[in-house]
Symmetry: C2
Amino acid sequence: MADLIQRQREISALLQQQNYEAAVQALQPLNYADQARLIQQFPIEDQIELLSGLAHQGLVFEFFPFELQRQLISRYPLRLQIELFDDMHSDDATDLYKSLTDAEQDRIYQQLDQDTQEHLKALSAYAEESAGAIMSSDYVSMPADFTMQQAIEALRHEAHDRETLYLIYVTNDQSQLEGVISLRQILQADRDARIQQVMTKDVVTGWIDEDQESIARKLAEYDFMALPIVDHALRLMGIVTYDDAMDVVQAETTEDFLKASAVSTEPGMSIKKAPILKLYQKRVFWLVILVFGSLLSGLGISYYEDIIAAHIVLVFFLPLLVGSGGNAGSQSATLMVRALATGDVNIRDWFYLLGRETLVALCLGGTMAIAVSILGYYRGDAIVALVLALSMMGIVLLGCLIGMSLPFVLNKLKLDPASASAPLVTSICDATGVVVYLMIASQLLNL
Amino acid sequence: MADLIQRQREISALLQQQNYEAAVQALQPLNYADQARLIQQFPIEDQIELLSGLAHQGLVFEFFPFELQRQLISRYPLRLQIELFDDMHSDDATDLYKSLTDAEQDRIYQQLDQDTQEHLKALSAYAEESAGAIMSSDYVSMPADFTMQQAIEALRHEAHDRETLYLIYVTNDQSQLEGVISLRQILQADRDARIQQVMTKDVVTGWIDEDQESIARKLAEYDFMALPIVDHALRLMGIVTYDDAMDVVQAETTEDFLKASAVSTEPGMSIKKAPILKLYQKRVFWLVILVFGSLLSGLGISYYEDIIAAHIVLVFFLPLLVGSGGNAGSQSATLMVRALATGDVNIRDWFYLLGRETLVALCLGGTMAIAVSILGYYRGDAIVALVLALSMMGIVLLGCLIGMSLPFVLNKLKLDPASASAPLVTSICDATGVVVYLMIASQLLNL
């Protein structure tokens, strides 16, 4: 890290002397990610000089945060834009290309490599968040009858923008995937053996229209470096690499995380850098929606005003009872949302899980009921203690069942189960809690 | 997937005929993860036969869920235990070894390869959740003066349990890391060039005592396949690979996620399979703690009983006002916890973020104040509307500031900021909300 700061000073000095060639030389030994980090710091004119000077400007530019790529690309000269698109990996190039206006797309497209044009056209067509939208077409493939010697020779001349040389895919003349062989296998097999004798034929693949989260999960489960993506005729269409899978997991998790506390999300939004108004806008929607939940609780309370007035001790316990239901419900909802996201449970498991949840909720409710009835006896009498114990039991049970079911219901309604946020569950449980508590109280206390 | 089920039937039939050799043959073409998945399904006697027959039984056994590895290993015959430990990658072997009882460790240790013994002794010593505890010592290293031709020759004979052949580390005679070269660079450089001419000298490394989360973040940021881990004398100690980093991210995220709704966690706990009592135990702690928060709200309400009795309309709005503060506060806390976890913000940014949060909170509070004052005017009068608007403003502002600060305070107290769960924030905000609302009401309505 210290080195990086020193390097930055050095390059900065060279740029001030307009010695661009030496500045590029000083960048060269760094890895792409660090090159990107340094270049970002300089004014746009210097960025243009540095990127233009580098051999693999596209591979460096990929490491700029996506928001920054979008802002900068149209401010660069057209020549550099073309160089960047031709040099970038096809998946990153496609994401950036799709963010341009139609006019910008048209201006660039005609001047790109034929290869880049084809990749962009093919990859732009896939649905957001599908395997097709995150895959890259820069994989290496070889015929099955190559010998190991031939394979190594071929790999020596593969282009620098291949995502990986370490997994080589074998296809037949209908482009159908027949096998995969790793460079490790190639190196360690006999030089005259043929690929078909060594390759793995039982290849784990992803479908072109499969959800990106499911692709990322498969990669993590098998510890593969890349997953080949096929269409429904089993033709090889592209690959998704482990680093893209990590990005998907990171993005999806942040989304789920924020949804869990009722914040709408946007990929890559930084709470440090996003404009105040955007943060406001991402939060106000759910806050206003949740007001309606609270109004229901209010209505419940007004309906039972008389019983409250007659037994004012009930108000003291209201937040405790109602809050416990909301808390237990939030726990259930989060456990469920996370288990659905990691693939630990499946929508079909609902009935089985409902049974288990009922048992857990009875234990939790029982414990809480004992605690609260002691308090109730101390501050009120035996009847109050009974009211509290019964209410606590019912409220916690209901809370857990609501919390556990909401993600499933949302899923059935084709909504994201992660929208079953703690605040949403809490406000639903609050309203039911008020009614349960005051109903039980009015029955028992008016005996 | 369909193939896998068919394969399972086939192997199952062979096992019933006690034709173990053919059963192993049928497993052989599958990848390690699928082999592991199938073997798990069979009774332990068959597992022993199948694992003993496979060439790389350790690499397959690594794909068993860790809980299962722990349960099974001591039930396998000693000979198989030894084979497994010798064959596994050193990081996985160490995790499993540490889970054995002292007696079991002693019995196995003496019979292991010398190589395995050294790895186990060295790796067992590192602190949990540090780079040392997750790294593997199965990396490939070479002298800097090897030619590319020599490097390729050496790689042909590297053992099968090396984590990767694709990144080769170069050390000097004090074991200090001098550079790294990828197999891609080796293949594509001139055959007579020497490693030192081609290798990257500016190597990104992790420290042996660095937190595992920070290691995983570095790997994701640079898109590296592996990160070399060095001690404070810059000696190369091991590597952490991308698949281990993915596991770390997954585990840490689930932990944060469950903490966010006040569930205590345990690595690898499945809500589908964990015993009911364990689920109960992980949830009851926080539910009981949160009762105290609710009791504070209850106390607040009893203190202002008179003003409530005089203006019963206030009760109707109580859940709405108090709930909105809790909701806004949960949003702030989650945004902050997640931003700290992904490295978007830093503890030092607190003061800056507090300023931004105040602005966002004023906008949110303002919007909610307008909404609630209209309701208040409709159900009460102008004074009630004013009370509600002021209270809402104050409650939302306080809620946001509490939600944003709690993770920082926990961090300062050396606690995990992720413990600033939505239910905890909600129950603190509820108590302050009750006081703010009823204090403002008692001031203005008694004018």
